[in-house]
């Protein structure tokens, strides 16, 4: 580099040397816009099909330029996490920083290389645009700034959850999943974009974004407080919830590897790390000081019944819960094995509910020990929440043999401590989670007794396509040595000399018809025999509505085998409400949601 001496005077002729410029090419660009660079941040486009309406773009927008508009022609589905909201962008605010592009969980919103927009003074409406697949003027331009792996602002990968290895867990009923450590939980919670899709999807509308936020901030008590606002079964749901929320989670909608937030495990983490006394304090918050003088009977101490009882007690009513079994919890206790939901956790949930003032009467069978009519006489309102505690049978040939049993009956025996007849080999019919539960429970019992597992599970449904049980369950079952035979329909239980020897199945060719309705087709040529000392049927459950008594059954309106209720769970009989599995099908969180609904309606009814 040439040095210029400060003391030089310079020359007046120097600039003239630049006359050579007349011989150089001009640098002027032709009129009209040039092509922008490959990563240019120009006007937005939005793939309306990819967009799920999570509003993350709106929240990240530093200029409040994004308005969410409702597009009625797009279908909404809360359970799948789809809203019909789509972003509209105000170019009177936007600064083209592309943060909306980088945060979009589904990479729907992107930027093009288009950058020229002018309008007359009275046409400012053109500054408010609704980006679609084409940009602001409807022309298609090449894409500019799109999300790359580096620019992605979201953490796509779920923190791994520690699990017991299959060898360690197969001979006991200890809980399989380790749970998060504080560090992992905070990291996992930090992934949440607070879109609220989970809250919309959750039947009980648990404030998941709020408690995830509290966990991120390390305020677990606050998190538990948020949970108890909507769910007194937080321990249970933190472990065995069907987590529709995670299906809806906007992070799970991403392309490629993109896991939803482990909302269920976070809930579990918060619940496990707040002391019981503290939880009891939290649960009592908002309890009415004054007693209302009204009393309510709840039949069945399952999640639905107890949630209703919990809410009603907090409103100042007197609630008595009648339970036919020696302990409360319903299916969560007598249907879910300990390795998924340890009993002490359930006990704690129930203890907290009782501590608020819910009175549970155990071993009282309504219908025999006390009649419905009597309940009505003693109380102002009655809630039926007896669940689906009876198993269905396939009623194939040989299914009336004593070694052909129903899964729910067996599952009930294990926590009750009854002696279970453990067979050397067993076949389970059914592909739902109940089938998995019984198969895995029996596997554990077999391992304890014989040192080996010999369980075969046959299901109509096809693995990976139509299978009913959760993928996790299937994976863990396979790890535990259970063989799963999918797409097989039961033909008959083979009985020789009055002794059960096994099950015959045929191949299922297809299972659903064109309309998506169930219409299985069998191929009789493909016949298999599975040797077994016991056949366990886990195909479906039903409710024992006989306890209502004939008179009440006649008085009630029914809807396809279930008690007919309105949207608040109120039956056609004025003093009777029904909630939970028996009216809504099996699901804990649905039952809890139902409990709330019913409680709210009863309270309204009683205050009328």
């Amino acid at each position: 580099m040439k040095k210029i001496n400060y003391n030089d005077k310079g020359s007046i002729l120097n600039p003239l040397k630049n006359l050579q410029f007349y011989a150089r090419k001009p640098v002027t660009e032709p009129l009209g816009p040039r092509d922008a660079s490959a990563s240019y941040r120009g006007f937005h486009i939005n793939d309306l099909n990819k967009c799920i309406g999570c509003s993350s773009c709106q929240k990240i927008c530093d200029n409040a330029a994004i308005t969410m508009v409702e597009v009625p022609s797009i279908k909404e589905d809360a359970a799948k996490g789809l809203r019909n909201l789509r972003p509209a962008i105000d170019y009177g605010r936007c600064c083209w920083c592309a943060l909306c592009v980088d945060i979009c969980p589904t990479s729907a919103i992107e930027m093009t290389r288009e950058y020229v927009h002018t309008c007359d003074g009275d046409e400012t409406d053109s500054y408010f645009i609704f980006p679609k697949e084409t940009g602001i003027h409807g022309d298609s331009f090449e894409k500019g700034w799109t999300k790359t792996e580096d620019s992605d602002l979201l953490d796509r990968i779920r923190r791994p959850m520690g699990e017991m290895l299959s060898e360690a867990r197969i001979d006991n009923f200890d809980e399989i999943v380790d749970g998060f450590t504080l560090e992992m939980a905070v990291q996992e919670a930090s992934r949440c974009v607070d879109c609220g899709l989970c809250e919309d999807a959750c039947p009980a509308h648990m404030h998941a974004p709020n408690y995830i936020r509290s966990i991120y901030e390390g305020n677990l008590e606050q998190a538990v407080e948020w949970m108890y606002e909507t769910n007194p079964f937080s321990h249970v749901c933190g472990r065995v919830c069907t987590h529709i929320c995670e299906t809806a989670c906007s992070l799970g909608h991403g392309e490629g590897e993109s896991d939803p937030i482990a909302i269920r495990w976070l809930k579990r983490f918060a619940m496990d790390n707040v002391s019981k006394t503290k939880i009891k304090q939290i649960a009592r918050k908002g309890k009415a000081r004054k007693k209302s003088g009204k009393s309510i009977a709840v039949v069945g101490a399952g999640p639905a019944g107890l949630t209703a009882a919990f809410d009603l007690v907090k409103k100042g009513h007197k609630v008595t819960v009648y339970e036919s079994l020696p302990k409360a919890g319903g299916m969560t206790r007598y249907g879910i094995p300990n390795y998924r939901l340890p009993e002490d956790r359930l006990d704690q949930d129930i203890e907290v509910i009782q501590s608020v003032g819910v009175d549970i009467k155990y071993n009282v069978k309504v219908g025999t020990d006390i009649s419905m009519a009597q309940l009505y006489k003693d109380n102002h309102a009655v809630v039926m929440a007896i669940g689906l505690q009876m198993g269905r049978s396939t009623r194939i040939k040989g299914s009336d043999h004593k070694m052909v049993v129903k899964a729910v009956d067996l599952l009930r025996m294990i926590p009750k401590g009854d002696k279970v007849n453990v067979p050397k080999s067993a076949v389970v019919i059914g592909g739902g989670n109940v089938a998995m539960d019984i198969a895995r429970s029996m596997a554990r019992l077999q391992q304890q007794k014989y040192g080996e597992v010999n369980i075969t599970l046959t299901a109509l449904e096809q693995l990976g396509k139509t299978f009913l049980a959760d993928d996790e369950e299937v994976k863990e079952s396979l790890e535990e040595g259970i063989s799963i035979l999918d797409a097989r329909g039961p033909k008959q239980c083979v009985i020789k000399n009055n002794k059960l020897v096994g099950l015959e199945t045929v191949k299922v060719i297809s299972i659903f018809d064109a309309q998506g309705r169930f219409a299985p087709k069998y191929d009789e040529e493909d016949l298999q025999f599975h040797q077994a000392d016991m056949v366990i049927e886990a195909i479906g459950q039903m409710s024992d509505v006989s306890i209502l008594g004939e008179e009440l059954t006649e008085e009630l309106e029914w809807n396809r085998g279930r008690i007919q209720i309105d949207e608040n769970g109120h039956t056609s009989v004025e003093w009777l409400w029904s909630a939970g599995d028996m009216v809504k099908g099996p699901d804990v969180i649905n039952a809890v949601a139902d409990g709330h609904r019913v409680a709210k309606d009863i309270d309204r009814f009683l205050n009328k």
């Binding site: 592309a98 953490d155 990291q187 930090s190």
Partner: protein, 380 residues
Amino acid sequence: MRPENYQAVKLGDSNEYEIFIGPNHPGIEGNYAFRLMLDGDIVVSGKADAGYLHRGFEKLMEGRLWIQNLAIVPRICVPDPAPMEVAYSMAVEEIMGIEAPIRAQWIRTMQLELSRVAAHLFTFGGHAATTGMYTPMFWGVADRDLVLDLFEDFTGGRVYSIYNIPGGVRRELPPEFLQKLSNLLDYLESRQNDYDNLLFTNQVFVERAKGCGALTQSQALELSVTGPNLRACGLAYDVRRDDPYLVYDELEFDIPRQKHGDAYSRILVRRDELFQSIRILRQIIERLPSIKGKIRTPIPNPLSWNVRKGEAYARVESSKGELAYYVVSDGGDKPYRVHVRGPSSMHAVQTLEFLAKGARLEDVAQIMFSLDACPPEVDR
């Protein structure tokens, strides 16, 4: 106001009169005003009048999420926006206790130097224009535009890159980028003679600039003058070397200086600095391909990102001087306080007022441009 209401009032006997320069005035850089008390054409005293570009940045930043602020910080100094992003990101990183990956630091360094090149080219033109020469302005701005093309290439934006993010940079360099950069540097070096002939050794300019707005070193230190303006007074002080950040301690570069502290010294320092930046960029072109790895340290999802309690004072050397960000976090999802210490806040107010005293009216614009003051840094 109605014309019939005008009423001429005779002033006193003094020869002094007050005139305004700006905010709409070609001799003022940006939207800035200066009030002068004149005796003849000699300035008796001057008073800066700022605030025309005041947007309340510091207040705005307290109301936005940590990451959202990245979009607004470059706006604080328009001709040289990159150091703003980097300084803010560095401050946040220091509070969080994380460090950007090495590759990101190299890319940031490259961005800073490119930005410096662009800013200096812009200043040459502006400075020359205040002395009545418009050709350097046409050249400088056109050459600067070539740098902006490169910015557009790797950051997606021409002027406002919004390329940094606490923890690194947002995007990998596009393919062939370093080759393009190298070509540009070749071109800029080839232009050196043109600029020298046109401006730096042009007698008309040299005579105008020499001795105009001279500062001694001790005056400069007293007024907290930094950057090229301080180096023009003979003190070889540069934040890049004395308080090293990013990868400047691995790079070789000289710190150009002059002794006289006047407008000509200042523009010569900038000229030399431009070529030092080119030298740095050449080293980066050489080293960058061998530095592999990630370009971002992960940060939590920005919508729920609490930065832990703490404070940091991050300083960088912008083309104007020492630029610093003082960021305070109370553990929330937004900064509790961000203070921007723009170098021009020293240059454009007290230093300018000091230098204007006794200067001639026609030199005031040149003095201001030679200080390379950026009004929005004063106003924020």
